[in-house]
Amino acid sequence: MSIKSVDERRLREVALTPDEYRVIVEQLKRAPNEVELGMLGVLWSEHCSYKSSKALLRRLPSTGPGVLQGPGENAGAVDIGEGWAAVFKIESHNHPSAIEPYQGAATGVGGIIRDVIAMGARPVALLDSLRFGPLPDSSHHFDGVVAGIGGYGNCIGIPTVGGEVYFEDCYANNPLVNAMCVGLVRKDQLMRARAEGTGNSLLLVGADTGRDGIHGASFASLELDENSSERRPAVQVGNPFLEKCLLEACMDLAHTDAVVAIQDLGAAGLTSAVAECAGRVQGAGSRIDVALVPRRERGMTSYDVMLSESQERMLVVVRRGREREVESIFEAWDLTSAVIGEVTDDGHLTVLDGDDEVARVPVRLLTEGAPMRRLVGFAPEPPYGLEVEELPPLADPGATLLQLMASPNLSSKRGVFRRYDHMVGDSTVIPPGGDAAMLRVKGTRLGLAVTTDCNARYCHLDPHLGAQLAVAEAARNIIATGARPLAVTDCLNFANPDRPEVYWELEEAVAGLAYACRTLELPVVSGNVSLYNDSSGDSPIYPTPVVGMVGVIDDYARRLGAGLRAEGDFVLLIGSSHNDLGGSEYLKVVHGHVAGRPPSLDLTREKAVNRVITSAAQSGYLHSAHDCAEGGMLVALAECCLLGGIGVRCPALRPEPPLRLDAAFFGESPSRYIVSVASRAMPEMQSLARRHNVELSLLGLAGGDLIEFEGQMKLSLAELRDAWEVMVT
């Protein structure tokens, strides 16, 4: 059977290569019809099949004592104690957001929420990790995306408690919008989206199906180009109100045993939902009738129905004979539902339109048939090096601090997170603004810490090291709250992997993630890959492996904030500083370079420092803790002061050679925290540090409304805050 039997244009439409088409014909032992071709096209797209990245992802550690559900389900789940499971996943919505920032971001949030619902969990928190080009040029993206995330999250009533915002030239035409959702469920009520039980009914509930985003999945797997405009109908309008009703109804389902599984409809719509559910059960298949699918528009073909990506829809596997029970739960929420088919044991996905069979494809061919792509990577020219010695000495630390605090990447993000309801649910015990956010688990003393982190500039300079640093920083953000990191979800945002240098970045970053997660004993339980983030013509994005992490504290009464708490406290720097100016914000903002090697990371040392912080926190020595990240020690210290509304008086900083003054103030050496303790706790702190052989230095005393290093700098918190809050208009 030759490729000639289908014309190339059609193949391009469904984003299949001639080789892939040959495989399909071989496997089916016939040419696929239109509907089948469309279905295979979406499921074999990069977005759904992970054909370029699957092999790499296997390298990530995904098991561990606390893991209740690893990759492969709609979201991962870990045991947080007292019979509770935390369910979480991060997902990208980069391409839609590039084209329609508000709706793209909003539907991204809606999508990740449905993944958590499908696990039977109640979503309790959202986080958003964002990357844009510099303002004001990218304000159209920035404003739209932030409004869209708030628009969906605020309306549905799930608090958005954390995230990040970075601005770099490389994101000007490829903004990154990654949304993470965290849910809670009793361990014994965790659900899996498996189409068990031949003869059980497939119930479709939620929005009517329209011609939304047909080929959205394939579209997410292509580089944006001039004629993206023709694909624009792929943009969709979300309905958070409908999803709120869907959410509550699905929570009500938990009270019945009539439901076998819940599967959300996302990319590739009905096709992928039905295929995935069946694909998770050996030998299972499904038969559905598109004529039974409630529609929003007239004249939709079975092709349209199978490929539609209309939002706010769920597929529910219901025990045969219990359909009414389930339907009545949905009716209570004024939701339309319809039985559209049943689970079979023939291993095939059969699609009927009334009496005619319009498609019949082996489930395995849909879900695992896509030929994995063997890509080659090779290292590009190493980014231009940095001779630290040649940097002029630091002239005026105070002026430099003001400059850094006001730089877009470091300035306060309050202007963003105050547009998100971060309090709904009455559980946010650490609000956004510090390090990780924390949610209490009502009815227990447990606190759940959540964060997302990635310094993509580091990853650009060294993807392997950069990825490790992302994991380490996320863990530090959790530990700074007094919590214990548990597990990771990751979102790999990269350019076109067909470019060897991009694939190399991907390989390196994944290897770095794997190494750091293994060493820090943090299983990766879920994740997402977004490739082709380079609109033709301009520079590819920095490799951006965003790390989402959750942790737990047994009693949230012992949680720590980042802000200084009491006048007279000793302010300490835990961990050692080196001349780590490579890739630093200081280097970019003050000297205008993106260069050098990212800070070196010694994970054994990292663990030692973390142990000091954790045991100090548990022993109740610490009044506050904040990790040192971009901007280094002085920026972190300034944040401690501003967040606590308390100044600090320090003697002049006299670093021991070879440590330079600029590096001591603004270098970004990892594995460091700034903590504040009561004077009487000093001896314990010192012995603790000695025991783990970790450097501890007294920076100064908390108090007043100045931040001062004697003879070197002196600023009022007021002027510091004005600089820091430039973006809070």
């Binding site: 329609e100 929005a207 969709q236 309008v237 979300g238 004024d334």
Partner: protein
């Protein structure tokens, strides 16, 4: 002084949650004869210009650049020389 009355509507194929919800609301109020509702924007723009022709071109440009989101919305407008000032 010219007044332009711009109407921005969601494209026919685009999902209109607001319209759907309003339709249901009307139905529950007993307006069962309502078969479809679409909700869009109405924008009144006053221009300090006298040439209708020029105004037409300018408003067209405003719609393309700002007033309508061409990805999901259509627009149309009328131009009328304004009589009484508000």
């Amino acid at each position: 002084m010219i007044r332009a009355k711009v109407i921005v509507t969601p494209k026919p194929v685009v999902n209109d949650p607001q319209g759907l919800t309003v339709k249901q609301g009307l139905a529950s109020l007993g307006f069962r004869e309502v078969s479809d509702v679409r909700v869009g924007k109405y924008i009144e723009v006053n221009l300090e210009t006298s040439s209708e022709h020029e105004a037409r071109e300018r408003v067209e440009a405003m719609c393309r650049q700002l007033l309508a989101n061409h990805v999901i919305e259509d627009f149309r407008f009328d131009i009328e020389p304004e009589r009484k000032r508000r």
